[in-house]
Amino acid sequence: MRRMSFGQATVDATRFAMREDDRVVVLGEDISWGGNFGQFRGLVDEFGHDRVIDMPISEAIIMAVGVGAAVTGLRPVASMSFVEFTLGAMDEIVNQAAKFRYMFGGQVSVPLVLRASDGVLRSSAGQHSSSLEGLFTHLPGLKVVAPSNPADAKGLLRAAIADDDPVVYLENKRITAKRGPVPVGDHVVPLGSAAVRRRGTDLTIVTYSVMALHAEKACSELTGMGIEAELIDLRSLVPLDLDTVLSSVARTGRVVVAHEAWEFGGFGAELVAAITVEVFDRLRAAPVRVGAAQAPIPFSPPLEGAVVPGADEIVAAAREVMGLI
């Protein structure tokens, strides 16, 4: 184990993959300078400009070139820095990358990772603060991961690069600089396996990405109130480790689903729906959702705080599902 930041852990994983397999190349804006969040720092020194490719501000072509390279023998990792910029490449992500294998009858795989930074960070305002996993998870052909800590950041990026399908790798901006212990050398976290962060019997909290950190805090507070929550960090949204979720909820009978993305039509809706459909008879109370209020993310701190949830909202939701509010 070595302590490093989430961002460094992703550099570690990428370096490992690039050393292991020379088909791995990375594409993105400003990445030879390390990228907007240092997620590519140092790679160009070791691997050169043929493998660490500075792209023009042409998001559509970053993805299209990724697809073209992926289906002809490379394993590209494409970067969009802010997740909102993926919207300029949505056609390539959805109509090409996600559908290529299926619509061509399984002739090819598209081993491509799309990295994008999401979430709020200190008032970045409407076009630089969104969390868009709800879009990607709905679209068949894409895998989607959203780690919450440096060790998972490394392990999931390794798994994503090793995967033969397009994987959207979402890294929350607020945790990119957060440090934690990371296994040295190779470290893989398989896609589709949730982590139970905390055992508890009163309710289950299902979450991922930065919200998993808020939830840890919420769980401590809840303990102080005599409530023991089981905390599940999904890590991977597609494929989704629903079994882990269901067996926990079947035990606790109560569930809070939390994410930073907008609540309405968000991934939490899918979680609540799937849980309700599958273990309805075990539910002792209505599930409660925590997510952003339905507004573009505002700039001003008091407004941002009002729209985007954190630990307090999880605590309140937990108390609600426990029937205490």
């Binding site: 559509a60 072509i61 299209a64 073209g68 390279a69 490379l74 002739q107």
Partner: protein, 334 residues
Amino acid sequence: MSLTETMSPGLALSIHRTMVRIRVFESRVEQLFKAGELPGFVHTYIGQEAIAAGVCSALNRDDYITSTHRGHGHAIAKGMELGPIMAELYGKETGACRGRGGSMHVADFSVGMLGANGIVAGGLGIAAGAALSARYRGTRQVAVGFFGDGGINKGTFHEALNFAATHRLGVVFVCENNQYAQFTSRLRTTAVEDLSVRASAYGIPGVTVDGNDPSATYHEALEAVARAREGGGPTLLNMETYRFGGHYVGDAEVYRESAEVEARRWADPIVRWERTLTDEGLMKDGPREAVWAEAAEEVSAAVRFAETSPYPEGGTALEDVFTGATAVPATGRA
């Protein structure tokens, strides 16, 4: 300069054969579609055969092409068998894409045909990516991105050409300028008359070509492909042609006079090429007819193959969303 000074008789005849195979294939597709035999909708390549046939003759088997919604001609010219294409149009399990893709998504990666594509200009960045990959792997493969006069106004055209030009990638961008995008004349939507001028925005060669003359399409492609292969970067070829049929089969064509279509018939690329071959003494009536007859037989065989092939089983509908062993339903539960 006579044709034989610039092109071997064998090549000239092979291009002819390809054009005829495309024409006969597409005419049959039109018939079959009108007869209700084919699901979906189809866009035929009739009138543009000299482009696919000429350009693909300048390519090696392991070179790449990306295609469009009007992709049957490219598929045939790049070397796909007719049977799997036709079976794909029928939606059969023996189709090139196991019936998953249909007319707009015919592909065969084993011959470098990286897919017809239902998104206008969708193939251009993919071609650039394939060229980047070839450069990286050191294979000297070239990629051709076919697109239309309508596609030239899509942002991806710009992004792809700028990227390919900056990196001097081995791509040839072939605009099949058939004068219309669906129902709309290019003159109504495009700021320049001569589309080849757009090359100058990327510092690359841009050439306007008689797209109905296989000698021209072949030679211009050959030059561009050679440059691409040698690291000289991309070229934009504006190949002027005309779509004899509707945008899709069934199009009522209210947007153009039939007189306009008729006036263009003089430039039918196959008629012209046959006249050239005949004039140059490369082809006689007998062999000419044999090519058509052979193509008709081949297409009939493709139809028989398609007709007698089974449909995919509904139960296989979720295969190949993801790759092999990593395939998982979204729920993570098998």
